[in-house]
């Protein structure tokens, strides 16, 4: 148990503790600001950390990442504009809660659930990092494709009211993901001779456009329609407090979310958005009150938030053991390791074991820090931000959206992408298409296509490779089973709707 001496050495270092608390506060504010993501903030802060000692730099950025994941929920609940794709799942129930004057309650649930999920993820990381490394190595393209397949199917469960429109949204996401270089042959596809398009559509500008700009456009339009109407965001005092009785039904969802998030976090490239949506879908499926979900159920905030933060710890496993970053934040942290001359990989645990466990210890203290700041401070932040009139807030969101889109890669083309994506997102909302399905399919399609075609190259074009390998077959079965359940529940709903066997 190397974690205890590490914890001790971190606790006894006041400057390091200060850095952790500072990072927790910075991360939360950054995450809570719509349009500004933790990864964008980390990318901007990266140059500063060159002048810090390695543990300091890594701990600072790692905690910002954790706290920023949590902070995204504040923006999702308050403004219906998630800073990250992951908090889009939190938003489904969080925003209705805020509209009902329970913003404070929702944020407290988000805080507690994030802390639970994050802690679960970190404990699993500390306990299982060596074991994880040996498993992760065995996953080849067929297994990874099967995981993508299962993820695609499960995402179908959050596709929304209209299955047809949900599927069209997903297909649109896949189509947009095809733009750029073919992952196998490196030939250009759908680039129309444009050099910029040959680089593909960036995830960050697309997400900012669809989720932030699109939402602002949609809300502007709504406000124009509903002249004179005031947004009912005033909270009654009971909307800010949270009792144990109220949180009790959320606990199983938070713990399940923790496991889902940790499981997905280990797999490189899937990321917290998928974890949050799967956790939300699973939670809704198992909930006692599924009809409440989507209209402002506290459980609907707990499930995705716990999963979202549980990804943070385990996603470090492939990064540290294989050098494969599982997320944008991971990719940046990899850079920090390299800058400080630390070689990540299986040997990291031989050469820099102490540092790694100290980093884990810092992460755990960071969870405490943002938990406390969030629990007592999020409501104040919320009150403050709610007092900002929309004609100040929207321009501010607009500005941060443009800055964030540009600063991620320093590219003006990304700003264009974001603007176009903003209009697309607005139109999709207007005509009831599912923007979450669109973005998630966009993320999944690239990896799914790449691994599918790699698998076929490995097997000379034979599809049996997916069945012959046990792990791959297992995940495919899981996906098919999920699909079966989904079809059954739809049939059931139909029958009930037709009044046939509904009462039986």
């Amino acid at each position: 148990m190397e974690i205890f001496p590490a914890l001790l050495s971190v606790i006894t270092d006041p400057t390091l503790l200060f850095a952790i608390v500072l990072a927790a506060a910075v991360g939360m504010i950054v995450g809570a600001t719509p349009g500004l993501t933790a990864s964008a903030a980390i990318a901007m802060l990266l140059p500063i950390t060159f002048y810090m000692p390695p543990l300091f730099a890594l701990a600072f950025l790692y905690v910002i990442g954790k706290s920023g994941r949590y902070g995204g929920s504040v923006a999702a609940i308050l403004f219906n504009t998630p800073g990250t794709a992951a908090s889009a799942a939190t938003q489904i129930d969080g925003y209705p809660l805020a509209r009902a004057g329970k913003a404070g309650k929702a944020m407290k649930v988000a805080t507690i659930s994030s802390v639970i999920g994050d802690f679960m993820g970190d404990i699993m990381l500390v306990v299982g990092v060596g074991f994880i490394a040996s498993i992760a190595l065995k996953l080849g393209p067929p297994e990874t494709f099967a995981i993508y397949f299962a993820a695609f199917v499960v995402i179908g469960s959050v596709i929304g009211k209209s299955i047809t429109k949900g599927l069209i949204s997903a297909l649109l996401g896949i189509l947009v993901a095809m733009v750029g270089l073919d992952p196998i042959s490196s030939e250009e596809r759908y680039t129309f001779g444009s050099f910029e398009l040959s680089n593909g559509i960036g995830l960050v500008p697309l997400m900012i456009g669809v989720f932030v700009l699109g939402e602002v456009f949609a809300q502007l339009e709504e406000r124009k329609k509903a002249k004179g109407e005031v947004r009912e965001n005033e909270s009654d005092p009971s909307g800010h407090t949270l009792t144990y009785e109220e949180y009790k039904p959320c606990i199983p969802h938070a713990i399940r979310g923790g496991f889902i998030g940790a499981g997905i976090g280990v797999l490189p490239g899937l990321g917290s958005a998928i974890a949050a949506f799967i956790s939300y879908g699973e939670g809704k499926r198992r909930a006692k009150n599924p009809e409440q979900w989507g209209k402002g159920a506290l459980e609907g905030v707990a499930a995705p938030e716990a999963a979202n933060n549980a990804v943070s710890g385990p996603s470090m496993a492939p990064l540290l053991t294989l050098g494969i970053p599982g997320s944008t934040i991971g990719a940046i942290l990899l850079g920090v390791f390299l800058i400080h001359g630390i070689q990540v990989g299986p040997t990291l645990f031989l050469t820099d074991k102490e540092l790694v466990y100290q980093l884990f210890a810092c992460g755990m203290l960071g969870i405490f820090a943002y938990g406390i700041i969030g629990y007592f401070g999020a409501t104040q932040v919320a009150r403050l931000i709610l007092k900002v009139p929309v004609n100040v807030l929207y321009p501010l969101i607009f500005l941060t959206a443009f800055v964030a889109a540009y600063s991620a890669r320093g590219s003006m083309f990304d700003v264009t992408v974001m603007t176009v994506a903003g209009f697309v997102g607005w139109l999709m909302r207007k005509f009831d298409f599912n923007v979450a399905a669109f973005v998630i399919s966009f993320v999944l399609a690239k990896g799914a296509e790449e691994t599918f075609r790699q698998s076929l190259l490995m097997s000379d074009g034979g599809a049996l490779i997916f069945v012959e390998r046990p792990i791959a077959a297992g995940f495919l079965l899981l996906g098919l089973a999920a699909m079966g359940f989904r079809i059954r529940s739809i049939m059931k709903e139909r029958r009930i709707a037709e009044g046939g066997l509904g009462d039986a």
């Binding site: 190595l137 065995k138 996953l139 080849g140 393209p141 270089l181 992952p183 196998i184 042959s185 490196s186 030939e187 250009e188 050099f195 040959s198 680089n199 593909g200 294989l322 050098g323 494969i324 970053p325 990719a331 940046i332 990899l334 850079g335 390299l338 800058i339 001359g341 070689q343 990989g345 299986p346 040997t347 890669r409 320093g410 590219s411 790449e450 790699q454 190259l457 490995m458 000379d460």
Partner: protein
């Protein structure tokens, strides 16, 4: 606020006019130098740029800022630098081999040999033939024999079609008259992980990728006539008498065409001094690479020679 921004713009414009006036080359460098790396942070080329940036202290009076502009096989960053102001404050460091090959295979106006001024070469990345540690193949000959016994049955991994690892692998296959199916992965890290996980029978990846993974991978040969100076335990195709294509990747610093000759020669001198510093070698040794300095003219000649070697191999990729 508005007025202040406007005044700021005026001042900036005035400053620009002042700096573009003649004679400024003499007091170069006055501002930080942006070194564009057209790959993601964390790759082999990026490691060189970070090491240069760290070791530049004391040689250059201004900081060297590494700017990652990844995408399109390195052409994204190249495109950004080719149009940059040729004032010596924007330069590019790239993997020369991959850059050359992508300009040969992709539809682009950039010519690796003519679109830029060569400043200097500071390092060298070499590709190598590796197998998983549990692989039955103990030598290069084992791989060749297995491929000949059942043509097309072997799978080999590399970091992306058109890159110098892929072309190096193609050269090995073509020169030895064997066939195998390639499975491209995205970048060196995933390729190495796939090979460790035994997803392919062998792979072509940077010889420095072995560093720290000696217990998971076995490097059978490095794709060059002589051994790598740092990873010197790995035999070379040359000494084994196995025919190969001389494709490697010199790490070269390029400047936009039209950069004043005084600036280029000042930077060349500075790079020579940095490359000779022991810290630079130490920083690189951790990543399994080392400094190899050549002046701009020699770097250009080496790339020119590689173009001739690679041309027949990439012809099939052109379409």
């Amino acid at each position: 606020m508005k007025r202040r921004a406007f005044l700021g713009a005026i001042t900036a414009a005035a400053a620009l006019v002042a700096t573009t006036a003649t004679g400024y080359a003499a007091d170069w460098p006055k501002r930080p130098i942006n070194l564009v790396v057209p790959y993601k942070a964390g790759g082999g080329t990026d490691a060189y740029a970070r090491a240069i940036s760290a070791a530049a202290e004391g040689v250059l009076d201004v900081p060297v800022v590494v700017v990652n502009k990844p995408g399109s096989g390195g052409l994204n960053g190249a495109n950004a630098v080719v149009g940059a102001r040729p004032d010596g404050y924007t330069m590019m460091m790239t993997s020369g081999g991959s850059f050359l090959l992508s300009t040969m295979t992709r539809d682009t106006k950039i010519d690796a040999l003519d679109s830029f001024d060569f400043v200097a070469q500071v390092g060298q990345l070499r590709t190598s033939l590796m197998v998983p540690v549990n692989s039955p193949y103990q030598s290069v000959q084992d791989v060749i024999d297995a491929a000949k016994a059942d043509p097309g049955s072997l799978r080999w991994a590399h970091s992306g079609r058109g890159g110098f690892h892929h072309v190096g692998g193609l050269g090995f296959l073509a020169n030895n008259g064997i066939e195998a199916q390639d499975v491209p992965f995205k970048g060196g890290g995933p390729t190495r992980a796939a090979l460790i996980g035994e997803q392919a029978d062998f792979g072509f990846l940077g010889v420095q990728q072995l560093r720290g993974f000696e217990e998971q991978l076995r490097a059978l040969a490095v794709n060059s006539a002589d051994r790598d100076t740092i990873m010197s335990d790995v035999p070379s195709f040359g000494e084994l008498g196995v025919p190969f294509a001389a494709v490697s990747s010199p790490v070269i610093v390029f400047a936009p065409k039209g950069t004043p000759a005084e600036v280029i020669s000042a930077m060349e001198t500075a790079l020579a001094e940095i490359a000779a510093k022991p810290e630079f070698a130490e920083l690189l040794a951790e990543r399994g690479t080392g400094p190899i300095f050549a002046n701009g003219a020699d770097a250009r000649a080496a790339l020119n020679a590689m173009q001739a070697d690679a041309a027949p191999l990439v012809q099939n990729l052109n379409n």
